[in-house]
């Protein structure tokens, strides 16, 4: 707990304490947090740092789809479900990923490695379907390619 607070403080203090930095601070706290989410304690700390009511921090944190208020896996997989991707392979890809990971959208695998989410258009629709893992974009994602990416991430985790 103690260490977490120090980490949050460390992230925040890289930014001047003005409200315009709220989104940036939330992004960075979420990235630094091993479970990639915004805990109540973090939001409280942000509210104090920016001298804002907690309710208004919550308001913003819950509005944007890239923030999570519940713990997630070590890696977040976001499959594009906007119309172009959905029509050109995205629907099948999401189904295949659900089966491969054994989770529904919004859930985390039992080993805590992956959370499956959906995303709006990732700007890769010339090469649909697309997905993103931890900020890295992949396009032309076949089921085989998805399997390969998942395997690679698992292997990297194991050697860490």
């Amino acid at each position: 707990m103690e260490r977490e607070e120090v980490a949050v403080r460390h992230v925040m203090e890289r930014y001047p304490a003005t409200r315009t930095n709220l989104l940036e601070i939330l992004h960075e706290i979420q990235r630094a947090e091993p479970r990639h989410y915004l805990s109540e304690a973090s939001l409280q700390a942000v509210a104090e740092y920016l001298r804002m009511p907690l309710a208004e921090v919550m308001d913003a944190a819950s509005f944007y789809s890239m923030y999570s208020l519940t713990p997630r896996g070590r890696h977040v997989v976001r499959v594009c479900v906007s119309p172009p991707c959905r029509l050109f392979g995205g629907e099948a890809l999401l189904k295949a990923l659900k089966e491969r990971l054994g989770v529904e959208v919004g859930q985390t695998t039992a080993d805590g490695a992956f959370t499956l989410e959906t995303s709006s258009c990732l700007g890769a629709c010339g090469n649909a379907p697309a997905l993103m893992i931890d900020g890295e974009l992949f396009d032309d994602v076949t089921d085989a390619k998805a399997a390969e990416i998942i395997y690679r991430v698992r292997r990297e985790d194991a050697t860490r």
């Binding site: 992004h27 944007y64 923030y67 029509l87 709006s120 258009c121 629709c125 010339g126």
Partner: protein, 428 residues
């Protein structure tokens, strides 16, 4: 960068001229390709800000963010004030659109220079580029380009030894389509949730932190350096009198070569599909296209010769140029299925601030699905149109006013398909 890009020789290139040709992480490479020449010219020749506004007005440049508002006019209409802001809208969320990403990743210095020139023209000292949070690489490249430009004296105090000071800050979005709306984007930069503001007042009067603010799209601003460097007359040698210049088109769906192409404004849809896109995949029949993304409109094969500029699609086909996205459908594509996806997108992205949009977007999905399994499809489809019309008239922001366009156009061209299609649409 999306592969499958068509041959650059095939098209007119202004904003994408250097994309793919230079190392986007190198300032030297950008400068060797002409970056910051427009800025140098303005400073060296002591061209006053108003003259830059006038040149852009004369060029006829119109906003590439979708609506086509004249850029010079937008700059002129900005209220006077000691503090003004320039905001570059890089939230690019319209499904099927990735033109701004190509510029942000492929030639970030072109955008930085465009922002500096726009800031100079309107009298701003500070600019923000709001990039959607999902665009990791765009954020990295823009951040680096800004740092390089500052170190080289193109940004900061006393730019190129003059009295002009201007700086740019990168702001990251966090996943909300509605933040592409200029007033929601301003709220988001202020550190709030992205609820659109009521207009008027427009951002040019009351914008970021209450100060006059110009919001321009990435592609719009990326055109500015070339206009300043080469002049309005040169710019007008591309495109049409009412829509001068070029446009980046995104070609996707059932085509042989999906990708991006920069072509003159007014290029016929047929050229975009057949030449640049390589034609419909497998030599199949062109059934139609969804143009401009989810907030766009459907056209049918009868409209394949429409000129793609700001005004002709509206006048001749009840469509819009929008973001420049062209989603091509072949003879087997299902328009009801695509419309279902589009309506689902709006339901998901409605920000929830106003009831007509929040409740309406959910209702649209339900009514369409019911219509496709009902005995009285025609009546249900009419209800769909009526609701979308009511939303257009009562929603607070353009998001809730958008669904009428794809709905009405889909039914105008493909009503028979909606009346007879066998498979009810549905999701996983």
């Amino acid at each position: 960068m999306p592969r499958g890009k068509t041959d650059p020789k095939d098209s007119a290139r202004i904003v994408l001229a250097n994309c793919g040709a230079i190392d986007p992480e190198s300032l030297d490479a950008a400068v060797a390709a002409g970056a910051y020449e427009g800025l140098r010219k303005v400073i060296a020749e002591r061209i006053p800000p108003q003259a830059v506004v006038d040149e852009v007005t004369r060029s006829g440049l119109r906003g590439r963010g979708g609506a086509g508002f004249p850029t010079g006019k937008k700059w002129s209409l900005t209220a006077p004030g000691a503090v003004k802001y320039l905001v570059c809208n890089a939230d690019e969320g319209e499904p099927g659109t990735f033109k701004d990403r190509l510029i942000l990743e492929g030639d970030p210095h072109e955008l930085v220079e465009g922002m500096i020139l726009a800031g100079y023209a309107i009298g701003a000292r500070e600019g923000f580029v709001y990039i959607r949070g999902e665009y990791t690489r765009s954020i990295e490249r823009m951040t680096r380009a800004i740092d390089q430009a500052r170190a080289a004296g193109f940004l900061g105090e006393r730019i190129l030894g003059s009295d002009f000071a201007f700086d740019v800050v990168v702001k990251r979005g966090a996943g909300a389509y509605v933040c592409g709306d200029e007033t929601a984007l301003i709220e988001s930069i202020e550190g709030k949730r992205g609820f659109p503001r009521l207009k008027p007042p427009y951002p040019g009067q009351v914008g970021l932190w209450g100060h006059p603010t110009v919001v321009n799209n990435v592609e719009t601003l990326a055109n500015v350096p070339a206009i300043v460097r080469r002049g309005a007359a040169w710019f007008r040698s591309f495109g049409t009198p009412a829509s001068p210049g070029t446009k980046v088109f995104l070609i996707l769906g059932d085509v042989e070569r999906p990708g991006a192409i920069e072509a003159e404004m007014g290029t016929p849809l047929r050229t975009i599909v057949e030449e640049y896109g390589g034609g419909v995949r497998g030599g199949r029949r062109f059934k139609g296209a969804l143009i401009g993304g989810a907030a766009g409109a459907f056209v049918s094969e009868k409209q394949i010769d429409v000129a793609m500029d700001f005004d002709t699609p509206k006048a001749q086909a009840g469509a819009v140029l929008g973001s420049g996205s062209v989603l091509v459908l072949d003879e087997d594509a299902s328009v009801p299925k695509l419309l279902d996806e589009v309506l689902e997108f709006f339901e998901h992205e409605s920000c929830g601030q106003c009831t007509p949009c929040r409740a309406g977007t959910a209702q649209l999905v339900r009514i369409l699905r019911r219509a496709l399994t009902s005995e009285r499809r025609g009546e249900d489809l009419d209800r769909l149109v009526a609701l979308a019309q009511a939303m257009r008239d009562t929603s607070l922001c353009p998001l809730g006013q958008s669904p009428i366009l794809p709905i009405e156009s889909a039914l105008r061209h493909f009503r028979d398909e909606f009346l007879t299609c066998a498979v009810p649409v549905g999701r996983l």
